[in-house]
Symmetry: C2
Subunit: 332 residues, 2 copies
């Protein structure tokens, strides 16, 4: 046995035993926060099918792409998107430097906590709020602001940290897919640089696997070295038909599994599940007012209407938070 053979043998024994015992262990503990039922089984059957070598549905490792929406799919989006809460908090934090905001809309409504006033300011008002809170700074500065804010930000209804209001059963799906050599991406309408500072710690998804909406960036060389400035101009909206576009731009491969919760995920689900081969499309349905929130067709945030109507026809699985999930949030 030469050195190369020795290494191969040691590695093979080590890896082989490890893999066999891991697989047995995984089988027992797969998706522990899920109740047994058709949806849990659909996930396991799908993963088994695409990872069984020699099987009709086998998919090679590099092509095992799974995409997850974020708001309402991986964490709570009620009573408002977390990123909107961030923007409103930033307005309050910046207000001392802007005394004129006390009497100018849409800032006045934000400072007064007057949500209907904010809604009355419309799309234009919201764009102003996003512009002053999300642009005009460097990418580094924005990352620091987001990181500091998310460390303490709480859901106003539950008083829990936003990062504790993530859906444990979905994190288990992410981990299960990763353990089966999937590349897992977030594909969200939310801001890409609002998510990147915390997705790795929170979900185990690193910055380069986050696809989202963006503003234009500009490279500038300052006295303190080069920076990337966040400009007050939309670069890309990663929502609805933008999601397949974002997937192609950033990943360049068509997913084989997609997870969403609203009509904004319709095209991502369609793009994923209409390709030939075994595919998985799932929709988180918020039907658990007792443990989280119950909403769908009439919600301002995470409206689920057409995708629910077409789910059955398209073969998309509706996940009932109430029935399918033993536990919603992590125990820590």
């Amino acid at each position: 046995m030469n050195r190369h053979q020795f290494v191969s043998t040691v590695a093979a024994i080590g890896f082989g035993a490890f893999a066999a015992i891991s697989a047995a262990h995984a089988q027992e503990d797969t998706l522990p926060s899920w109740n047994d039922g058709a949806n849990k089984q659909a996930i396991i059957d799908f993963v088994t099918a695409v990872t069984t070598e020699g099987g009709a549905d086998f998919v090679a490792v590099g092509d095992r792409i799974a995409t997850f929406d974020n708001d309402g799919t991986l964490w709570s989006e009620q009573p408002m998107y977390v990123q909107l809460a961030f923007a409103l908090d930033e307005i309050k934090a910046m207000a001392p430097d802007h005394p004129e905001w006390k009497t100018t809309e849409p800032y006045k409504s934000v400072l007064d906590g007057n949500m209907s006033g904010l809604v009355a300011s419309g799309k234009e008002g919201l764009e102003k709020i996003i512009a002053v809170t999300h642009t005009g700074m460097t990418t580094d500065q924005f990352e620091q602001t987001v990181s500091a804010w998310i460390a303490t930000a709480k859901n106003p209804k539950t008083d829990k940290l936003d990062t504790e209001m993530i859906f444990e059963p979905m994190v288990e799906v992410i981990d299960y897919l990763k353990a089966n050599d999937f590349d897992v991406y977030i594909v969200s309408g939310g801001g890409i640089e609002f998510m990147r500072p915390w997705t790795e710690k929170t979900y185990g998804i690193p910055p380069e696997n986050v696809v989202g909406s963006s503003v234009k960036l500009k490279y500038e060389v300052t006295d303190n070295g080069p920076v990337l400035m966040r400009e007050a101009e939309i670069d890309f909206i990663d929502d609805g038909p933008g999601k397949p576009v974002g997937i192609q731009k950033f990943i360049g491969k068509r997913p084989i599994a997609a997870f969403g919760n609203s009509d904004g995920d319709y095209q991502m689900l369609q793009w994923t599940t209409t390709a030939p081969g075994k595919r998985l499309g799932m929709i988180v349905h918020h039907d658990d007012a007792a443990r989280e929130f119950a909403y769908d067709r009439d919600s301002h945030f995470g409206k689920l209407d057409k995708a629910m109507d077409d789910a059955s026809k398209e073969g998309w699985h509706l996940i009932s938070m109430k029935d399918d999930w033993k536990q919603i949030f992590p125990s820590n």
Copy 2:
């Protein structure tokens, strides 16, 4: 010893022995196509420094990002960019369906092989050629066209396949970085979807690790299912100051090593090497007319002027193809 301890022990023995012997083996064979000298040593010293746990320059695995330009850095870009050769070949292939091109510029010049006529048609002429050859089809169709073309495309000067005119020493650097747990990206001014069909087979860099210029995509649902149409509108130019922007958009992390060959890589090198910590910036200098091509300040393709002037001041290493590389192209 319980089952978990058993698994850990077996895995640790396997991995440990494997890692130790691999490292010893790697030391002997590191960068075999490079002549011993300051540049080869700089690469090895850099990788050793950032991967030595407990060392002052240690960089965690997820932050070991390296970016490589493509044209002129990983493969030959003379006598013209390969992607331009693709566009001109496509014009010829499409010409039978466009009899009017025989008498209309810039197509006439392309069909006549009249390069100075093409140059005379200017930016507008080139844009027309790119539009008809790169847009108006689905992403799938474009991928198929590129894949079919690249399989047989040859450099007009050497009559070698373009994919054989890759720089073996640079592929060795990619492999060496990957073996040291770097995430390696291509960051090119070329079209992202022109590169993705072949970069994995050619360099070992998968589609999701390719950053490049792009046209806008549009999601459409046809009778045959959804498609992404390539629209005749520029989405992003990944060149010059666009390279740090592309890096931030796609990766969301600042590289610790960057490799280029022209002034179009200036800002990528600057963005990489001005960050705190141990950084590596390298420029491939085409100074080997006998084995490849010799050009720099006056070249239409891959002009290297300001980056060469500033290399010493900025600490960027100039790689001499003539002196640093034992071998330029792969052997078979």
